[in-house]
């Protein structure tokens, strides 16, 4: 399936020499549409003039006219040290003629050459074909295993300590008669980790409903609050305890990062929850929360995909779900075969990536050029 990405990437590589060839053909000035853009831009490149070396060289001047019109207008002047110019002000589909002039030490400018081009917008960004291949490949593998799981295939998943501890932590809070605090990150619902956190909350709420343990869910984002309130309500209803659901247990605080932290710190010291969950996206505040929680003696289970915050949760919390484990938690807690299937798909994608890393290494051993060619297949264009 990597073949698909190879093929796509090949197309990109094949296109590049074609452009280079045009430049090499010897024309003093070359103009062409900027590839992979929304249109409206033309690149003009030219061969450096020997005049560059002369004393008093003032630079190049790029002029433009709509093909067929009499007058040129200057679009760039005194270009020094570069032999390209990107005209961002071109209208799509209009043929422009570009003229590059050399401004020497004295006398009239000399014309280096002219070239013609039209700007256009593209319908497919070839620089992103590797991303397309990647998306198609992973989606295919994941959906394939989801479908297999739906067909009833048995799927094994290994243990994750942090998730094994969830039940125990809820049980402990129940015994102590203390509440459970659930923080679903400091990001809005656009973050995948927030969504993962919300689905974990839905599972945790089923357990707190079962044991009738009080649950405290302060929210950072109003949409997350709306959705979480419904999820928790649903969880209580499903466990046959709709009346045990407290409308005010899921509430909005503020979207200010440290305002939110100030409030949650206060809750920890005043309500003294026996268990703190930190799931989702966290930033610098991760350690403030985790250290305050540790000082109150709560069991703390964290999970985040913020690589920079993992060290703080790892050190200050009892259990930490690292990166992908956070997303996997829903599958574990729910034991839904479809979700387990998607985990299997992720594993196979991982295996494919490991294979790609090994292949790349072998190529690098055989020849640096071959290895570089392979590595470039994964290069991403900035915009």
């Amino acid at each position: 399936m990597r073949i698909a990405s190879l093929v796509c990437a090949f197309l990109v590589l094949a296109a590049a020499p074609a452009l280079a060839a045009a430049e090499k053909a010897g024309a003093a000035v070359v103009a062409g549409d900027v590839p992979n853009d929304a249109g409206g831009a033309i690149d003009v490149t030219w061969q450096p003039s020997p005049a560059e070396e002369e004393i008093g060289f003032k630079g190049y001047e790029v002029q433009r006219r709509v093909a067929g019109e009499p007058e040129f207008a200057t679009v760039a002047e005194s270009v020094v040290g570069e032999t390209t110019f990107r005209d961002e002000d071109a209208e799509n589909g209009v043929a422009y003629e570009y003229q590059v002039r050399v401004l020497g030490a004295e006398g009239a400018p000399t014309v280096l050459g002219t070239a013609e081009a039209k700007a256009s917008g593209q319908w497919f960004n070839t620089a992103r074909s590797n991303a397309l291949a990647g998306v198609l490949f992973t989606s295919f593998v994941i959906i394939f295993f989801i479908l297999r799981a739906r067909g009833g295939a048995e799927l094994f998943v290994r243990k994750i300590a942090g998730l094994e501890a969830v039940e125990e932590a809820i049980g402990r809070a129940t015994e102590m008669g203390k509440p459970i605090l659930f923080v679903s990150g400091l990001a809005d619902a656009s973050e995948i980790s927030t969504i993962a956190a919300m689905t974990i909350l839905a599972k945790v709420a089923r357990k707190t409903a079962e044991y009738e343990t009080p649950l405290i869910v302060p929210c950072y984002d109003p949409i997350v609050m709306m959705v979480e309130k419904e999820m928790v309500r649903q969880a209580y209803a499903e466990m046959g305890k709709p009346d045990a659901f407290d409308e005010d247990s899921v509430f909005f605080v503020t979207q200010s990062q440290f305002g939110y932290v100030a409030a949650v710190d206060g809750i920890m010291l005043r309500e003294k929850p026996a268990t703190n969950f930190y799931m989702g996206a966290f930033y610098a505040e991760s350690l403030i929360l985790a250290e305050t929680g540790a000082a109150t003696g709560a069991i703390q289970i964290a999970g985040t995909d913020r690589v920079t915050q993992l060290p703080f949760f790892i050190t200050a919390c009892d259990y930490t779900l690292m990166g992908e484990e956070l997303y996997a938690a829903t599958a574990y807690l729910g034991r839904d075969p479809l979700f387990l299937g998607s985990l299997k798909g992720q594993d196979w994608s991982k295996a494919a990536i490991i294979l790609a890393l090994i292949v790349g290494t072998v190529f690098l051993i055989i020849s640096t050029d071959l290895g570089l060619w392979f590595a470039k297949l994964f290069e991403t264009a900035a915009s």
């Binding site: 992103r128 590797n130 991303a131 990647g134 998306v135 992973t138 799927l155 094994f156 998943v157 290994r158 994750i160 619902a189 656009s190 995948i192 709306m226 959705v227 605080v253 503020t254 979207q255 200010s256 440290f258 305002g259 939110y260 100030a262 409030a263 710190d265 206060g266 010291l269 005043r270 690589v307 920079t308 993992l310 060290p311 703080f312 790892i314 050190t315 690292m322 992908e324 484990e325 996997a328 985990l343 299997k344 992720q346 594993d347 991982k350 990536i353 490991i354 890393l357 090994i358 790349g360 290494t361 690098l364 640096t368 290895g371 392979f374 590595a375 470039k376 994964f378 290069e379 991403t380």
Partner: protein, 236 residues
């Protein structure tokens, strides 16, 4: 020593001390500051979003759009602002229990749009760029037989590091990825590789922790400079 005479500096300084009092223990001063901060900041973001986003991207285009429409100018792109306007109103149906379910339409829109952005964005930044980065450092490959050649030609610490760091990087990425396998037991060969993955994870976490200490201290320096300089005028 020149104590500030600016009332606002005093307010800021006192609130700063109220927050610091939390380090000792929870107390009425902290509670006061905490509730004030929550209230003020909750309102702040609403006001900022309103002026910076809702006005230029919703109210103004709707005004021009409808202005043109009613003066016979036909439909213009400005009226696209109706989309978020209507979605926003749909979100508010949550306030009316009878039709609260309608808010799911807007949430579906919101969630769906972001999932599309996530799929492609993560593929690009979290997968492709990381694979590429495993092989490359700047414009050079992290690993090449030539680096070993260089080392044996003229051995030095720098060259041995250059030669072995690349392979170490690749091995590290593979082992760490292996740790994240969910559908195989961490036993035997896979278990061994995953163990090495844990070694990399722990070194990485330790290093990031140590790396961050400095930045955190500078925040404290900033606050203390405010107290000692702007408020008390002890330092210049």
């Amino acid at each position: 020593m020149h104590i500030s005479t600016d009332i606002w500096i005093w307010i800021a300084a006192i609130l700063t001390l109220c927050i610091y009092s939390f380090l000792y223990k929870d107390n009425p001063f902290y509670k006061f500051a905490e509730h004030l901060l929550v209230g003020v900041s909750a309102g702040y973001f609403f006001v900022i979003y309103f002026w910076n986003l809702v006005v230029p991207n919703l109210l103004t285009p709707l005004k021009t759009g409808f202005g043109t429409l009613f003066s016979g100018g036909g439909f213009t792109g400005d009226l696209a602002a109706l989309v978020p306007g209507i979605l926003g109103l749909i979100i508010l149906t949550r306030l009316i229990p009878k039709i609260a379910w309608m808010s799911r339409w807007a949430i579906g829109f919101y969630f769906g749009a972001f999932q599309g952005i996530i799929i492609t964005g993560y593929m690009q930044a979290y997968i492709l760029a990381q694979i590429y980065g495993t092989f490359m450092k700047g414009a050079d490959p992290v690993f090449s037989i030539a680096y070993f050649g260089n080392f044996f030609g003229d051995p030095s610490w720098g060259k041995v590091l250059l030669a072995v760091s690349g392979p170490l990087m690749i091995v590290g990425v593979i082992c760490t990825l292996t740790y994240f396998f969910f559908s195989t037991e961490h036993k035997g060969f896979v278990g061994g590789v995953a163990k090495i993955g844990i070694v990399f994870l722990m070194i990485g976490f330790g290093a990031s922790f140590g790396y961050t200490v400095m930045a955190r201290v500078s925040l404290l320096i900033g606050r203390l400079q405010f107290l000692l300089r702007d408020w008390l005028g002890i330092i210049s």
